[in-house]
Amino acid sequence: MRGALLICKKEFMELMKDRKTMFFTFLLPVLLYPAIFGMMSKLGRNDEEKRKSKASRVAVVDASQTLLPLLRTEPTLFEVVSAPEGDVKQAINDEKLEMQVEVDEDAAAKLEAQQTFSVKATYDRSNDSSRLALTRLKEQLQKQDKTWVQARLKTMGAPADLASPTKLESVDAGGESRVMGRIMGSMLPYLLMIMMFAGSMQHGIYATAGEKERGTLLSLLATSLPRNQIVLGKLLYVFSIGILSALINLASLGISMLLTFSKEAAVNAPSAGPGMGSLSALANPATLALTFFLMVPLGLCFANFIVLMGVQAKNAVEAGSSIMPGFFAVMMMAVFSMAPGIEKMAWLPYVPILNVSLAIRKLFVHQGNIPEYLLALVMTVGLAAVFTWLSTRMLKRESALFKV
């Protein structure tokens, strides 16, 4: 193992000599996610604040004057404008107004007769401001409906509760941590897979096909180090970079999300805790440890695949081309693993890589299944071992070594 550690040390030393690569591998993710999330959050908040602070421009066609006075009493929500000449839909699409409301001509009479009258709202579903106008109208009508129903009940001499036979009280048995666990459980395997693979890919190519191309691999092979130790050392390096890269990206992403959501929570409900539920869902040590134990062999599988492809390639370009299909396969699997309801598929625990996603997903919603977890672990370890054996064999093949 000494040889493998020495090779790994050499690879890290080489990496540390390249400041640009160090920056892009370790520092950029730390800066990038907070910047992206901060910017997105700020832009989103500004846009929402702008929209909310502005009254919706609404044209109201209400001959019986049933709704119009009501909307006029809320000048912060509605700005009543005159109905557009020509096509209403075109006027809304041209953003001359957000919505047109047409009320039945005999609405007042129907209301008097305790009948139902129609209100037709024309809006643009693709436009946030237009959607907001409809939401405001719905809320206003809901409030007014309640008042009108109460008035009708009073006229009839019926109790106020007549229109509300049930009162629903919902209690969340799972709690916030379980909700966050479900979200994290579906997202985390996807993020980990993509980050581990993408993070180690270029380093793997540099350390294998790149060495061949630069003519330095032979000098390593000419030393007294056993070839399997050289492969193991490179594997260890690629694996470590993958894990490090995934952890840095995740930590940065997690912290950025947490900070963003905390700000959102503080703005929306100042009394609410700053996203503590998500924190507790993430910080469960047993869940994190079990996830890590699964990610280690998975990371080894990825590193093995990258090293295997890198060793058999003539140069870095060929290595990149042969690794890319593997990356796409992992990406497809990662996307598939996010799909809702996949945990119900009976064959899934027997599919390598996907079963890791499934096991992590279940861990995060506290539905961990020991046989499924062990199966995923054993299969992934087995796959990693097969790839290691193949890489070592490949580096012993002269046809692979002297391809350049």
């Binding site: 090779i7 030393m13 080489e14 630069r214 003519g215 000419a222 007294s224 002269e398």
Partner: protein, 253 residues
Amino acid sequence: MIQLTDVYKTFTVKDKRTRAKKQVEAVKGLSLTVKPGEIYGLLGPNGAGKSTTLRMIAGLMQPNQGRIQVCGLDTVEQPEKARAKVGYLSTDLNVYGRFTPRELLRIFGEFQGLDAKVAERRGMYLMEKLQLDDFADVKMEGFSSGQKQKVSIARALLHDPKVVIFDEPTTGLDVLTAKTVLDLLRVMRAEGRTVIVSTHVMPMVEEICDRVGIIFDGLLYGDASPKQILDDWGVKTLDEVFFELAARSAAEV
């Protein structure tokens, strides 16, 4: 000591046009012995099998048939132990541009089982001998080919190998650097090391080699002192032996 007994090496090559695979015999039944304190020159045109032979001795390739021993160690059965006795240098080998010579020599010393400090000390001694000590802490990415070759020589000799294999050690070097390399080869002979060198530079062969073998079409000719070969073939230069062999080969075809 290096001992090759009836060594064969075959490669499978693919014809790009016909897509057919065929076997090419690069080395055909080669036997030779190089003793300690001797410089053996391996000559031959491009593609004759020189580099393949040297790579097999260095343990980078395995023979299909026959046996290669380095200091009594079989290169197939005990590859790591055999490689530990060898210092290998080739034009195919490059240096790690991101490292300084000091760092590279320390790392390679550790690969060869030396303590990091010992490796660095020995590396610096070799750098001084090769007149490159002023550049010991400069990144090698900007080095000239001569400077890189000197660092490669230091890397090959770092672990004090009993057997030294230099594949075209003066290719691409200026006269001064080439002289430094030749002087170093003489020192190694004086120290009792077994040295085998391949080259195209005939004056160099006549100047430093104790014995010479000419590889042509995978077969070994000569295996005697340069003077003996010239006498045996009745020619004035080793180049003429090449021409004679080429003419014979053409006549056989």
